[in-house]
């Protein structure tokens, strides 16, 4: 860990690729050397093009870094450089590791043995959101750290599930660490800052630019042992993460979704390409069974969630649950098979909603 002003200055250089940044650090040894180097020395390194050199010399001003340093201290944000002991081991092995990470929260999470990344669509189906929360909770209960990207939809649901019961989770941001994006995730951002860990390779206040997100995806997969794709569209960010995970030698898992759902076409394609299909959390665990000793104990619990339909004690509600499971998931269809009036049906649906048996969204009924 460091609070070196030159490191902070170095991280604010945004005209240089990650690979070049890494090479510069290897060549100069420390950003301070770069800062104090003459132009000839920098050019002699033959890493940077003249234009990029110009950019560096144009930005030779420590004022911004000074301000950032003050802020970091105030907010208890840690700086982890690639030269530090506590730089995450797994991340060091990838092709283009970030030279510097801003970290807010519990940095010991970076040293955990087993980490699984969870990614998916921002506009996910109700079922997928539910699965994300369920897997997040179940996996984190087994002591696995969940890594995700704090985006809307699946990412948020995974974090939410992980943090719900003392679980640990890491959020990798595509913006500066002090900026919550999207704003709708403000609550979960604060929760993770308190109980989990928030990471970013970007300088303070960096806006959510489009190219940041595929870039940060390499960190998500790089930090983890395996990647779970909950639901992904075609050409989505989640698929980019899956591609990177494969390049980095991580396993890819997919939860199968309805083949009709447009938001699951990409993840279903991954299965065709050979990703491992998981239908319950222990399917992931069995891959790492040596790492996790208490597997046997926890193995039984999560599988309980996946047993047969719940019994409600009310014959009519049982019947409705049964029909929903068979795919009669609109009011119109239920009315037809149940032969009751809409007034009666609406009353029963409210009861079932209250008892957490079903979820109603856009007039579609879903089992929980």
């Amino acid at each position: 860990m460091t609070d070196n002003i030159y490191w902070i200055w170095f991280s604010s250089l945004n005209k240089m690729s990650v690979i070049k940044k890494k090479a510069i650090i290897e060549y100069f040894g420390h950003p301070e050397m770069l800062y104090k180097a003459r132009r000839e020395d920098v050019e002699r390194a033959k890493i940077l093009k003249p234009k990029e050199c110009d950019a560096i010399f144009a930005m030779k001003d420590l004022k911004k870094a000074e301000k950032a340093k003050h802020f970091i201290k105030e907010q208890h944000i840690a700086l982890i450089t690639i030269q530090d002991e506590d730089y995450p081991r797994k991340l060091r092995t990838i092709y283009d590791p970030p030279v510097l990470l801003y970290a807010l929260g519990d940095t010991t999470l970076l040293q955990r043995d087993l980490t699984i990344a969870m990614v998916g669509s921002r506009k996910a189906s109700v079922n997928a959101l539910h699965e994300a929360t369920k897997f997040g909770t179940a996996l984190s209960k087994m002591g696995i750290t969940i890594v995700s990207g704090l985006a809307a939809g699946i990412d948020g649901a995974s974090h939410e599930g992980a943090i719900k019961h003392l679980g640990s989770t890491i959020a990798v941001m595509g913006t500066g660490i002090n900026r919550c994006y999207p704003r709708s995730n403000q609550k979960i951002y604060q929760k993770i800052a308190q109980k989990g860990l928030i990471l970013s390779e970007y300088f303070m206040d960096e806006p959510p630019l489009a190219f940041h997100f595929p870039q940060r995806n390499r960190i998500i997969s790089g930090l983890s042992d395996g990647l779970l794709v909950v639901e992904a569209r075609e050409k989505s960010g989640a698929l980019i993460t899956a591609k990177m995970a494969l390049e980095q030698g991580r396993s890819v898992y997919v939860i199968p979704q309805n083949i009709e759902t447009p938001s699951a076409r990409g993840s279903n394609q991954l299965m065709k390409d050979g990703a491992k299909i998981v239908t319950e959390p222990k399917d992931i665990l069995e891959e790492y069974v040596i790492t996790v000793e208490d597997l046997k104990k926890s193995q039984k619990k999560p599988s309980d969630d996946n047993n047969e339909l719940k019994k409600t004690g009310d014959p009519v509600q049982d019947k409705i649950l049964n029909y929903i499971a068979q795919g009669y998931n609109t009011r119109e269809q239920l009315l037809y098979v149940m032969q009751m009036t809409i007034a009666e049906l609406n009353g029963i649906l409210s009861m079932m909603e209250l008892n957490d048996l079903i979820v109603l969204k856009f007039d579609q009924l879903y089992l929980i």
């Binding site: 921002r122 506009k123 809307a152 999207p182 709708s184 009709e260 759902t261 447009p262 938001s263 609109t330 009011r331 119109e332 009315l335 037809y336 809409i342 007034a343 609406n346 009353g347 029963i348 649906l349 409210s350 009861m351 909603e353 209250l354 969204k361 856009f362 007039d363 579609q364």
Partner: protein
């Protein structure tokens, strides 16, 4: 000589008595008109001159002064032609009658002396009755509209000489009578759409039934082509029948606005569906001399706003006050007028810009922020005033083609009528309250009494659904209406749990 003729002007949807005084005296031939006349009234002089001449009477070539009292209100429109002409004829001693000062006259004159129909006859005749005037002479073509008011004689006149002969006792005009009771009984329900024609959508239909029974406002959300507009168009067919007083009130507004068709009493509840490019003034009413807007034209009927988020935001916000007060007060330099606006709002919208957010069949192409921005176009305070929120899904082909027989509007309306009668009886002692939608929190605790079990149920709902106090009251009001539809006085869990299904859509509330 001086003459005094009674006539009537309009302020908003109410008439008020105007005395037209004519003085003909020796001097240079001058016509002067005083008493704040507008352009149309000033032009009376030319019409009156020609009409008198062409009807075979003599226009006095003397100094003529016409005053319209009270002098401080602005007079508009051509309906004073007839009283001015008769006034001049009386002042120049061409008519002598003791009947004239008990009679109220209105009508526009053509150059040939024919009497043309005018706007606002119904409020004028109602005002005349209030002022205990027993005889009214009105244009022939307005006779149907005028005759719905009972308790005074209506004399429809076709031309100026008919009126003059009537007062000269040469030949009388026959008083016109019609039986409105009969008219109302034979009310032909000519609705273009019937609920039986709308396939499926049981949930939306039920929600509209509840809405009609308790006068609750409705917001329908759903993808394009799901049938929101169709449902809204069929909605008037399940509304309760009009009472005589209601019919008169609606007719008054249409009469003033000049929209009365066939000069009949308005027999059906109005259904107004303005286009979303409408301006705030057109919606709420206005103009130099204020005219009723769409909200008033929808009085006691339905205001249907299709594609709600496409309306200008400022236009939607003006709806807040009439939704709350059920009337609009429009103030201009010349007048401050109050129009009634007790309408039911039926609104429809797509869930997002492309329309397919949440649709299981189509993919939505909007970004998250676009969806949020779209739903943000409707403000919280406006949503707060809408009791029922429903999602109208697209139907599958099999559902559209199903041979199931749907319930007709007729039989739904029977239940609605029953529920309205119950409410009328219950709220007889509360001033200005006619239906459940109007209940205030104080009245809710009085009329929506919950037993122990029901209280426990609502407590669960309150915490589970993250309700606000307003959301809580909304459910109670809806449950009240649902119980009324069943003819039950006490609220049960069954009523409450059904009402829960019509709550504010999550995707809107959690925006």
């Amino acid at each position: 000589m001086l003459s005094k003729i009674l006539s009537c002007g309009l302020a908003g949807v109410d008439g008020y008595k105007i005395t037209v005084e004519c003085d003909v005296s020796n001097g240079l031939p001058v016509f002067s008109l005083v008493g704040l006349p507008d352009a149309a009234v000033k032009e009376s002089r030319e019409r009156v001159y020609s009409a008198i001449k062409n009807s075979g009477y003599k226009y006095p070539m003397k100094r003529i002064t016409v005053n319209m009292a009270p002098a401080e209100t602005r007079k508009e429109g051509p309906s004073f032609d007839l009283p001015i002409a008769i006034g001049i004829l009386q002042a120049s001693l061409q008519i002598e009658s003791d009947q004239l000062d008990k009679c109220l006259l209105v009508g526009e004159l053509s150059l040939g002396g024919e009497i043309k129909p005018v706007k606002g006859i119904l409020p004028i005749v109602l005002a005349a009755r209030k002022d205990q005037i027993t005889k009214v002479i009105i244009p022939f073509e307005n006779r149907q509209e005028a005759a719905v008011v009972e308790g005074l004689s209506i004399y429809p006149a076709k031309n100026l000489s008919q009126v003059v002969n009537h007062f000269k006792n040469v030949s009388s005009i026959y008083a016109y009578k019609t039986s409105i009771k009969q008219n109302l009984l034979h009310q032909i329900q000519t609705h273009t759409m019937d609920f039986a024609e709308v396939k499926g959508q049981a949930n939306a239909k039920r929600a509209l039934e509840v809405s009609a029974a308790g006068a609750h406002n409705v917001l329908m959300q759903g993808p394009p082509g799901s049938g929101k507009t169709l449902l809204a168009k069929a909605f008037p067919s399940i509304l309760p029948s009009l009472t005589l007083e209601e019919a008169l009130e609606i007719t008054k507004i249409y009469s003033v606005a000049g929209y009365l068709k066939d000069d009949h009493l308005m027999m059906t509840r109005p259904f107004r569906s303005p286009h979303h490019t409408i301006s705030g003034i057109a919606l709420i009413g206005g103009g130099r001399i204020p005219k009723p807007g769409e909200v008033s034209l929808a009085h006691l009927g339905v205001l249907f706003l299709d594609e709600l988020p496409e309306f200008k935001k400022s236009v939607l916000e003006v709806l807040r006050q009439p939704l709350e007060d059920q009337k609009v007060t429009i103030t201009r330099v010349n007048a401050s007028l109050t129009f009634p606006a007790a309408f039911m709002l039926i609104a429809s919208m797509n869930p997002c810009k492309c329309g397919y957010y949440g649709d299981p069949e189509h993919e939505c192409t909007c970004t998250e922020s676009e969806i949020r921005a779209y739903q943000h176009r409707i403000s919280g305070p406006l949503l707060d005033r809408i009791d029922i929120h429903i999602h109208v899904p697209t139907l599958k082909f099999e559902e559209l083609e199903s041979m199931q027989i749907e319930e007709s509007s007729e039989s739904i309306r029977k239940r609605v009528n029953q529920a309205r009668q119950l409410q009328n009886k219950r709220y007889a002692s509360e001033k200005g309250i006619y239906f459940n939608a109007q209940l205030t929190p104080r009245m809710i605790s009085k009329y929506c009494y919950l037993g122990e079990q029901e209280k426990a149920f609502m407590k669960k709902v309150y915490s589970k659904m993250n309700l606000s106090a307003r959301g809580y009251h909304r459910i109670l009001k809806l449950a009240r209406t649902i119980a009324d539809l069943l003819g039950e006085e006490t609220l049960s869990i069954q009523h409450l749990s059904e009402a829960v299904q019509y709550r504010v859509l999550d995707q809107i509330e959690g925006r």
